[in-house]
Assembly symmetry: D2
Homo-oligomer: 337 residues x 4
């Protein structure tokens, strides 16, 4: 860290901060500039040290130098992680596609749709059994019954099941049926949940919180990795900005940025990222062109009658077109799909 | 709701949407404009209906008319709610102050500090026993031991205890020690937690999520109210914007806005809302001037050695000045403090 | 428009608003809902009417139905606009590329670089002669001298010159040398400038303001179109959000969104949109995959010694790679580059 | 500045950067940490140096230490600036109030209203003669005729005239009639305009751009100050965030922050900052409590028939209440109003 002292900091304050740095196990190096003094704190920078030094008297600000995440960082783990769950492999040469309805509505719906998606090239099946809803009056999902429907769809098709888990106490039950545990954007900083998913050892798909920075996103992954579970996929699903013509703003620079900073695979969700079915195909192409390792998409056989997220769901026919177009983009970046 | 049809929508599409509206239990009224047709859907507008109608063919957009929250709304409950927890009353003529350290660090710390705060005019004591931390490597709180320390501080001072609960399974334990259950910003949409707090019947202090809209904030309160727990305080604690000179942006217009839309009392947190101790006093004054029912503040006897949030903590001496200044502001808006 | 009356609006207030609507040349249609009354205002919705009706007594809110921009809209002009400036054509089957340094630094620099860019496939040359700088102490550009250097580079290569104009009084001078007048993000709502560029009749490249909505962006284009100048290119260059790992957030959903709402061609600027040279190539690929009609890129022969924007400039060698990769993406979306 | 080198930076790269720093007239001090090397660049940090060093090979990031604004900074000018324009004094013990309609509509309107405002305690009269409008189809102001009306209202009342100037070429004309030249939020980075206002020597009221950082805001002021015009008022008028229940988000922490960093007086605009007349009074109280030196408010005798901004305009009666309430708040912070 670099501790920047105020212009009018006293010698006593500078000495005091140097002692504080030493007491924290770091080595202070005082640099007297023309206007201001700064103190470099050398050694192992730990998360939280910045905030410990900031309230010191005479301190203007503290600038961190090192990234606070370790296990998620590409600095220490240079080999790229490939997450495998049944037939689904995310992070390798092949761009993979996870598709399905927002909510699991009925057994017939999910089985029929799963067959179509499989035929069109999906390798994962998404579908909500536990649904986090903004309003208590909205449909909350079929819960365990929904999980069973998903398991039946898997038995019919072999698709890997990706479904959301919303509370630590549900992890064992969801883990029994699912191949990948999804942590939703609203729960990205639900630390008990992250730890429970970490403990389960199951592959995790971690969605970026809608106002999370990249550092917070990687620190949330760190919570899972830190419990000994290395199978984490990072999913960009759009952030909240002032833009009002889309449901969220989907920042695809996340893909190459995370590929540089982390060894974990990166998934993109153009359905939530735009909230509009019309924008899903072009943004799926763009995501693959940016280097995404996988797409996760909402597909519904009848979006008009979907119980949730109909406006951003595409039909199986549109999904077929999407797959064709994305296959060509994948080839143009030397990957398959 | 108002369903706006596209400029080139066909008569069949308009008829179809009118039928969909009827099927949902509402009455459609078709209005043919010069350029576009809109359909008013009359009747009880329910949360989620907008998203059900939006994917319809020929639909441009769906505009909701009514607020989706009911129990939190001042339309149905005209009498203002006053939340009472031991000596703490929030929502009445008196502006109340909840103060204490970010984390409970030791029994001595919390008891000594509680006495000082009480002498200076606080009626509630805040302090974290379970700490949600961005990094898994940061101090996570003393957990149940911390709760016991808080209970001892209450025994010594009579201050009402306000502390955060982070997971549904912790609710019974925290409720045993605390007078008010705080739901943190990161958990504002942790619905299992909201329901568990609702079921506990304990007074709740609900912090606004850092990118939550007012509608989402009130719908989160609705989750608690809907379980039969009417004792909800809404807490503005700052939102995430592009501003980088403060930790968050503290939008005080929240206070009069919520007072207009809801009967629930409004608390302001200038410590998290600014992240800088230097800004806490003027923003506390401003919050009281805007009409806040209570303040929640981080106070530490030695901010430089606080284990967390030292940069935004003020000293007991500064807290004394804050109380003096806010008392004058309270008087200027015909309240006491 | 739809005027939503308050729950407790009186009959007199409703009648009054109906009369106000009639006085504005629209036809009111009053719809009495179960809880609330709404009034549809039928006829030609004009910009500014919403704000005129909103302060009415008993009015809850006013919802606009029609887009306030007319000439920029794809509703009235269905044929796509292709902007032509010398060899540069933007909006046709070919994706075109405009490249060059942030600032024109010297005649030798710009001529040598222009030759390289032309050989690698660029059809437009960008370069700043007038530079809008956040600080008055930063380099402000070579002004007319810079324009002459650009004209010489054009004489040598035939590349079309794209350069920024910052003030209405400079328009004639810049128009004398340049083929395309660029309006920077900071000036997107500098209406005198928009009108002056409109009056010049020169092709315009209009950058999106860093916190402009799509509606504001299209209304800014409307200012130029309204002066009889149809040659407007819309340029997405990134918006300001809470993200701090990139200079701006580049929302590529802008591309298909604008292609749907407007007939004007859409250009993407991945250099400003990310602020980091490392992210420019993948985001250029993504932009082409999303359907961009052109790219505008900062290329410098020696980014380390660039007088401005070095961190986001790529070398000619990287530009060559970018062109190769984007050519493959263009082919995958059935275009050339 | 602190130049942070990458973990794998070579010795050659480190040496090279040290030489670059020396060539820029600064003194490099190389600090070898456990994981990373950082180089402190000692000496006079100038705006733009960060961006010059960032593209260097092996450089991870460059951290500025000093504020890039000089003349606006409280570090060099410790005495607080009081801006005086006729009877209007901003920055002293008295909180002053500038009020008036969004647009000057007619001579009778402005004269009658000015008398009322004066009687109620205003010392400045605002009113738009040149109106920056999002749409080319909205009312653009009475221009010079409007300026004459304002001058007549001043002749009748003695109120100082505050009005917006939108283009450099209008500065002489507006300066002839007005006492204070207002630079609107959309023009905060219209540098030609800032310089022209600087050159005029007239007191300036500079509005914060709707997505400007504090640093950019102070650098915009620097453009005016740098032309030898010391009479600059900084005006917080709300920023663009994801919030949709108000027109903008009004961050009052700006007031104490700017008072700390700068010697210039701070004005708050609760009308634009909220966009809703109902929120104007509480936010005016809050602004005064936060320490604002002046308020600027939209008041209209008949908001329902205002040609612009009716929704956020308050009536003279409401303005009278506002003044009464704010007077009490001013007294509570030891000021007058």
């Amino acid at each position: 860290m670099i501790v920047v002292m105020k212009v009018d900091a006293t010698i006593a304050q500078i000495d005091h901060m140097a002692q504080r740095i030493t007491a924290l196990g770091l080595t202070p190096q005082v640099i007297h500039g023309k206007h201001q003094t700064v103190i470099a704190a050398l050694g192992q920078e730990r998360a939280g040290l910045t905030e410990v030094l900031e309230p010191g008297e005479g301190v203007e600000k503290v600038l961190p130098i090192m990234a606070p995440y370790k296990r998620a960082s590409s600095e220490l783990t240079r080999e790229r992680t490939v997450v495998k769950a049944r037939g689904l492999e995310v992070g390798g040469a092949r761009v993979t596609v996870i598709a399905g309805p927002c909510s699991v509505e009925s057994e017939e719906q999910i089985v029929v749709l799963a067959r179509e998606l499989k035929d069109l090239g999906a390798t994962g099946l998404r579908g909500g059994a536990f649904k986090p809803r903004t309003s208590p009056y909205s449909f909350q999902g079929h819960k365990e019954l929904g999980l069973k429907m998903l398991a039946n769809a898997r038995a019919e098709t072999g698709l890997a099941i990706v479904t959301e888990v919303m509370a630590p106490e549900h992890v064992p039950m969801v883990a029994e049926y699912a191949d990948v545990l999804q942590i939703g954007a609203r729960n990205m900083q639900n630390y008990q949940l992250l730890q429970a998913v970490g403990d389960s050892g199951k592959p995790a798909l971690l969605k970026r919180g809608m106002s999370a920075t990249q550092e917070e996103f990687l620190l949330a992954a760190e919570y899972i990795l830190d419990r000994g579970n290395p199978n984490v996929m990072l999913c960009e699903r759009g952030i909240r900005t002032y833009e009002d013509h889309t449901r969220f703003t989907l920042p695809l620079a996340t893909v190459p940025y995370l590929h540089d900073k982390s060894h974990l695979p990166v998934v993109v969700d153009p359905s939530h990222g735009t909230g509009k079915s019309k924008l899903v195909i072009p943004m799926s192409r763009a995501a693959v062109a940016a280097g995404a390792d996988a797409l996760i998409l909402e597909v519904h056989d009848d979006p008009e009658h979907a119980v949730s997220d109909g406006a951003q769901s595409i039909t199986p026919a549109a999904f077929g077109q999407l797959m064709d177009q994305c296959r060509r983009i994948a080839a143009a970046v030397d990957r398959t799909l």
